[in-house]
Symmetry: C2
Subunit: 479 residues, 2 copies
């Protein structure tokens, strides 16, 4: 109790120390940005073009190349300066034809999506009996004698994306370690209409590689019920998936150069690549197009901030993060001039505020006992209480659209590499009511983006980026 009170006092004192207050100074700019954002048509029009006329955009695909070139042109048309493609090599995984068929008791083909990074099956497929488990613990307890030669089906319950995605990421290797010949993973979602969700997987070193695919929650449960009823279930999995030589790709950036400190940068963006299903509308067409719209509106309103505002469309977020890493490498020492990085990669539902990267947030994001699913990232440096208070001040400007919540824990996969080098990172957060229903599926299409919510996201990005780029101090100066 004593400790909490102390901390509150410290917070309040630091907030007071951060005078002059930011809200009054930026009230007019914020009002203009929000008003313009809520009337914006260009952002949704660009997103529609991207979705309908370019389509989904997996790393290495012709459509990603097309999207990247088109993005640069759109940035130029919006009046941004220093528009550049920053070349990076990206992994090039190709799905190929794929299918899953159940032999009985009701013989039929089942909807599925191979997981990104999986190897192929032999041309005639793999036919084997399934072994259904609900957890890694259950699999381990069964042991190699039971698992050998089987196709392991993970029928884990959905307990939130962060907690459940490890079955997708490392399910293949965990099964292969015990002699399984393939793995099928229940799609990571709480709501489904027989909808498979793809996503990245990773083979562990020194473990045999086996093919792995996502199946629908419906079919995972069906196989579990049949197994419990004592009915043996045999399936045939066919996948032509292959990994080709790394492909050429690029991040796309464009800027409003700062009027006083052009060398200092606030970067905001999302990722231009997507999975090879649906239209990559929420993930993450909405993020890149909202970021571009936010910067385009500053330009239109002649709001040129003190520092440079840079919009970035990173490539290859989905299966490699080569874009985010490449951006860090391209920056080199200039990373120290990055005042803040803002990512929108959680879809364009109603925005609620921003999550701020912190070591605490990072720790919380990994569930206790969870297998590591991505290479461990270096810790993120915590912002000072004064900087957090300042973010709270800025967020107050978003009260008109009810998006003024600042919370600990946030950022984005594309900005994680520069956050690890000390750049304060913020992730736009939404109500995220349906994001996981659409995520990595054929259903991630333009119609899922509510235009009003999209425009609110544009407003939130614009206000946050503008004030961070214009205010006298850098966030990291506030101690």
């Amino acid at each position: 109790m004593f400790r909490s009170v102390t901390l509150l006092c410290v917070s309040a004192a630091l907030a007071c120390a951060a005078e002059p207050q930011i809200s009054p100074a930026y009230q007019d700019a914020a009002r203009r940005l929000i008003e313009a954002a809520l009337k914006d048509e260009a952002g949704m029009a660009r997103l529609q073009y991207l979705c309908d006329q370019i389509g989904n955009r997996l790393s290495g695909s012709a459509s990603l190349d097309k999207a990247i070139k088109w993005s640069a042109e759109e940035m130029k048309k919006a009046g941004l300066q220093n528009v550049q493609l920053l070349p990076v090599k990206v992994p090039h995984w190709v799905r190929g034809a794929e299918s899953l068929a159940i032999a009985g008791p009701v013989s039929r083909s089942l909807p599925m999506l191979g997981l990104g990074g999986s190897i192929a099956t032999p041309p005639n497929g793999i036919t084997a009996e399934v072994l259904v488990v609900t957890s890694f613990e259950e699999l381990a307890a069964l042991g190699a004698d039971k698992v050998r030669g089987k196709i392991v089906v993970y029928n884990q319950p959905f307990q939130g994306y962060g907690e459940t995605v490890r079955y997708r990421s490392s399910g293949a290797s965990q099964a292969a370690r015990l002699g399984a010949v393939a793995a099928l993973v229940r799609s990571i979602t709480g709501r489904t209409l027989r909808t498979p969700h793809t996503g990245a997987m990773r083979y562990e070193e020194n473990v045999p590689k086996i093919p792995v695919a996502a199946i629908t929650p419906e079919d995972a449960q069906m196989m579990a019920r049949l197994s419990r009823a004592g009915v043996p279930v045999k399936v045939t999995l066919k996948m032509e998936a292959r990994t080709e030589a790394p492909a050429d790709s690029a991040n796309v950036i464009g800027e409003i150069p700062g009027r006083e400190k052009p060398e200092e940068v606030v970067v905001l963006g999302g990722h231009i690549d997507s999975w090879d299903v649906g239209q990559g509308a929420q993930d993450d067409g909405s993020g890149v197009m909202a970021a571009l719209a936010a910067v385009a509106l500053m330009k239109e309103l002649n709001l040129q901030p003190r520092r440079t505002v840079r919009v970035a469309f990173w490539t290859n977020e989905e299966n490699g993060t080569a874009g985010g890493n490449g951006y860090r490498d391209w920056l080199g020492d200039k990373v120290k001039n990055h005042v803040a990085a803002i990512e929108m990669d959680g879809g364009a539902e109603k925005p609620v505020g921003f999550g701020v990267g912190s070591s605490a947030g990072r720790r919380r994001a990994v569930a206790p006992g969870a297998a590591p699913t991505t290479p461990a990232r270096p810790p993120v440096k915590d912002l000072s209480a004064a900087a957090m208070a300042r973010l709270g001040e800025i967020a107050k400007l978003l009260a008109p659209i009810d998006a003024g919540k600042i919370s600990l824990g946030g950022g984005g996969a594309d900005i994680a590499p520069i956050m690890a080098l000390g750049v304060p990172g913020l992730g736009l957060q939404t109500t995220s009511e349906h994001y996981n229903d659409w995520h990595h599926t054929e259903a991630d299409t333009f119609d899922k983006v509510n235009p009003e919510h999209f425009r609110q996201n544009v407003a939130a990005l614009a206000v946050m980026a503008y004030v961070l780029a214009d205010m006298p101090e850098r966030l990291t100066d506030l101690q």
Copy 2:
């Protein structure tokens, strides 16, 4: 105002005239039936077997034959008497291979489901530009010059199933009348994850027959957006659909013979056939299995009513109603001994009560200006106010499961033929929150049936059927 008050008084007076009150007399039986239903395991177990081990069951399919034979065995195992298969001939439509591909701007295959009854395309398919409309009125206004040679895409908004389904039923003929070469209908649903919904269609006489398929709301909207953007959209539709000679099928019935008036019957049930997608779990596996469970529980509890309670699994509801018509024909003059008919064919979500067939309900069900979608049914005779009051009395017994609402308008396609001959018809009604999401899709699977809600439906059917079969008077005696 005056009129309303008068009607209320009339209602109240008639309710009082219907003494003795039913609720107290049947409180104990209802309590026992509800208690047993809420603990019942057999109903869900049978539904699971039907879904997982027999699967979907289109008229004419081997799986429907299997389901019918199995159903008769299950009725016998549950102790029902006079278990019979009542043979009927059913239409035999076969889907065959089918596909839809869009040529550009993003060339790819699109999810689709041919509509039941559609003819095939030529083997190489039909390739043509699409013409997107949102209503029959818009199509008519465009006229033959614009429609000729096109594939008409109906992108009608979802305004409830009853109002919107006419595009599925008669969209092909309306387009063909103006020279269209095929039609694609936006699936009849308010929520979608790129989910096509099949269903029956009907060709009008003297209009050329053209192939017709359901597409997803996502793709209908995508084509509409491209058309509005001035981008011509060309698609290739391939369908092997064919209608074979009528097939042998059967209704399945089983009974608890009445202890005093075995010749008088309360029939309850649903339809054993389904579309050829998903598992036919909600539509209508849940209906037949809940009806059987309700009657099986009466048997278990030794509740033998005054009149016969008959469970009926009608065949061919989805594409012909041959089962319901065949049942009427099989009854012949005995239809006058049918005290009531109860159908459950709206899924097994939380039950709220019963809809009572009435001429008013029938009139309401057809929207103003709607094209006729099914052959006009003869009007249903309204029940007297006293009979309605009695139903309200019985429904009070369902208060413990909050399923005691009696409303006007209800019944079911399978009981419509005998309702037209004067048999009072009731349709079990639920919250129907998600029924249309699953209806006629690959997602109509066992996992969608909430066991608790299923059991509440069993309870509602059991109590209503038992009291109607046991109470001294027939509903139609109450005047």
